[in-house]
């Protein structure tokens, strides 16, 4: 029997393991999976290296510089953490919407709106330091949530695919922020005592900044801890709570969810709000954290963090705890690219490396899934 389905299926399917060799075959399976990931990563890094060499750069210089800039040189780990925190936050939001079966790809815009609202509130609002900071950040969360909420509203009440609206709203958000930065009554700083006439907002007062810690010469804002705590909390909520279960059900099978009494509109819309809220929080944290500019809103404030967070969530395959690690790696790619100027290679290579890694990491789960399906089908057909 087993012979005949082995020939019927492709050569990818090994014959079924006997009971006494099951332990060994599981070990080879794990080895295969690890090998597959390693191979894909290796190919991704090789292609990036070839690209560097094709423009006359040295890939060893590039990789050394990125390693130095992200981890090895003094104080760089702190910067990596400072970059990783908003990436992690954006990614957590992406997990919430992704688990509910939504494709929110406008995090960059939600982040900008969050940062803009937080800036407005932080600059206008007086009051004692920590309180003003918290109010500003909550305002940022609300801003991001409302921005994503528009797309959620259009998705559930007007059947407009959220893939496109979130993205297009990102363009609108960037222009909106640009407009705010050109108007004194919104975000633009007063020109008194400013050397340049760039479009920047007022600098946050020292008492509405997120406190920074120094550990072994590495300095980072305490929002890093907040991000990690939220990641753990989200993992628990997703795995252990009714809400998390309902969200997952909605994402995996909307029809089952409907039969079980989970309102698609309600849960989906709330997931979208939460997703944007996380992006808005990331914006607020970037603004008040100090690793992105000098505590003020500038023209290209987003710096691609929204996109990096989205990609990180995809690489982590919607798992919050894995995301902590992925966000750290992406933060490292970003802080590492800061050292690239010395090598003469454009810092944009770090974008290439990042996308290559993401693409490479998408392959193994897809391959493994198809193999598992083939095996299941073969087993099913041999049974009949």
């Amino acid at each position: 029997m087993s012979d005949d389905h082995a020939t019927a299926d492709s050569s990818l399917t090994p014959p079924p393991a006997d009971a006494d060799t099951a332990g060994r075959s599981r070990r080879t399976e794990v080895a295969e999976i690890v090998g597959l990931y390693a191979l894909c990563l290796f190919v991704a890094l090789t292609v990036s290296a070839v690209l560097v060499m094709s423009t006359g750069g040295s890939w060893t210089d590039v990789y050394t510089a990125m390693f130095d800039g992200s981890l090895r040189k003094a104080g760089r780990i702190g910067l990596t953490l400072g970059y990783a925190a908003p990436i992690l936050l954006v990614g957590l939001g992406t997990i919430v919407s992704g688990r509910a079966g939504l494709v929110n790809i406008g995090q960059e815009g939600q982040l900008l709106i969050g940062a803009s609202v937080a800036t407005y509130v932080a600059v206008r609002l007086g009051g004692p330091g920590p309180l003003a900071l918290i109010v500003a950040i909550i305002a940022g969360i609300a801003g991001g949530a409302i921005w994503a909420g528009i797309a959620g509203f259009l998705r559930y009440w007007y059947k407009v695919p959220e893939v496109l609206t979130t993205l297009l709203l990102g363009v609108v958000a960037a222009n909106f922020m640009g407009w705010g930065l050109r108007n004194r009554w919104l975000l633009l700083a007063s020109s008194e005592g400013r050397a340049n006439r760039n479009q920047v907002s007022e600098v946050l007062a020292p008492n509405v900044r997120i406190p920074r810690l120094r550990v072994f010469g590495n300095e980072f804002p305490i929002s890093v801890f907040l991000a990690v705590l939220l990641a753990i909390a989200l993992a628990v909520v997703m795995a252990r709570s009714t809400t998390g279960f309902r969200l997952r059900m909605l994402g995996n099978n909307p029809r089952t969810a409907q039969r079980a009494g989970v309102s698609e509109k309600r849960y989906g819309f709330v997931a979208m709000l939460a997703s944007g809220g996380f992006a808005g929080l990331a914006g607020g944290v970037m603004l008040a954290g100090g690793d992105f500019g000098s505590y003020q809103l500038v023209a290209n404030f987003g710096a691609g963090i929204g996109f990096a967070g989205l990609l990180a969530a995809l690489v982590a395959n919607q798992r919050a705890l894995v995301l902590i690690f992925v966000a750290f790696v992406f933060g490292a790619l970003r802080s590492g690219s800061g050292f690239l100027r010395a090598t003469g290679v454009s810092a944009r290579i770090s974008d290439v490396v990042q996308s290559m890694i993401v693409l490479a990491l998408l392959l193994p789960p897809a391959i493994l899934y198809i193999r598992a399906r083939r095996r299941a089908l073969a087993a099913a057909s041999s049974r009949t």
Binding site: L51, T55, G56, G57, V103, I105, L154, Y158, K159, V160, P161, V163, L164, T165, L167, L168, L169, V171, V172, N175, F176, G178, W179, R182, F307, L310, L311, L314, V345, S346, R348, I349, D351, V352, Q354, S355, M356, V358, L359, L362, L363, P365, A366, I367, Y369, I370, R373, A376, L377, A380
Partner: protein
């Protein structure tokens, strides 16, 4: 506000506004006509943006190296096809999520193109304008449609060709069947994912040509912001058009007009409207248009649902 409406009136009678509108609409048309086939087969190509950008860059390099615009367009088609190969095989041979793959491809192409163009910017030029005798003299419509850079005329045969391909060939029927009910199509012996891959290849080639066309007709100089989200607007045009060819063409022209008018208003000397609002106008109009039309049209039943045999 009166100032605004008089500005709109001035723009609406401005010949070059229409000419630019058609130039902007045609780049959407190249992409949208391919995307329509892909969506009819049940797959949404977010990577259309990357295909167009890859085409534009390859076209720029092609023109610099060969000096021939036709060869450059051919190279652009190949570049678009390469992006399409990755998209199609990862999402419809393996089972990676089509949006995820598309999105990553967009960032990858943007990164690679930005990196390569930054280290060695290709030198390119606009192609010359050809006036179609007779037709080009009609007021407003004539200059917009028949007195344009000659690469624009390439889109004219593409549209009827796509109609013929989708509605008058066996392949087109199979594509539409796959997009409506992949399980039934599979049972009747169609190779669902293969057909989907083929539509993506077609989209890749057309979008690549579209990107290069835009370079030659619009700017003549390559920048990595050249495409700047037009791929997404092309997808929106297909939705706006209710997944019909006619509707998609209308959608492309509407979005082209909005974009062009937004650009023309400041050039006529009206300063009352902040440039940010003009820049966001195409996106905003696209969103509003989709909100108005998305509910009234019927999308291909299996749109954006991956097909894996044995799974509903």
């Amino acid at each position: 506000m009166g100032d605004f409406w008089s500005a709109v009136a001035d723009v609406a009678t401005n010949e070059s506004a229409y000419r630019n509108a058609i130039i902007a609409a045609v780049v959407l048309l190249f992409a949208a006509s391919g995307e329509l086939a892909a969506e009819k087969a049940g797959t949404i190509n977010i990577s259309i943006e990357g295909m167009m950008l890859a085409g534009a860059f390859a076209g720029a390099v092609g023109q610099e190296q060969t000096g021939s615009v036709l060869l450059a367009l051919l190279i652009a088609a190949v570049a678009g096809l390469i992006v399409a190969l990755v998209q199609a095989n990862m999402s419809h041979r393996l089972s990676a999520d089509q949006f995820v793959v598309g999105l990553v491809l967009n960032t990858l192409v943007l990164g690679v193109v930005g990196f390569l163009a930054g280290s060695n910017e290709p030198k390119t030029s606009l192609v010359s304008r050809w006036k179609v005798p007779g037709l080009g003299d009609i007021p407003i419509v004539g200059p917009a449609l028949f007195d344009q850079p000659w690469v624009l005329y390439l889109v004219y045969p593409v549209i009827p060709f796509m109609w013929w391909l989708l509605y008058r060939t066996r392949w087109g029927l199979e594509v539409r069947a796959v997009g409506e009910d992949p399980n039934a199509a599979d049972v009747s012996g169609l190779h669902v994912n293969k057909l989907r891959r083929q539509t993506i290849y077609l989209t890749g080639m057309l979008s690549g040509i579209g990107g290069a066309y835009f370079l030659f007709a619009r700017s003549g100089r390559f920048e990595d912001s050249l495409i700047g989200g037009r791929g997404y607007i092309a997808i929106a045009a297909v939705i706006f058009g209710g997944w019909t060819l006619k509707g998609s063409v209308v959608g492309c022209v509407v979005f082209g007009l909005v974009g062009s008018f937004a650009l023309t208003i400041p050039s006529l000397g009206y300063k009352g409207i902040d440039s940010a609002f003009l820049a966001m106008a195409p996106s905003l109009v696209t969103i509003i248009a989709m909100a108005l039309f998305a509910k009234r049209v019927r999308q291909p039943a299996a749109l954006a649902r991956p097909f894996i045999r044995g799974l509903k």
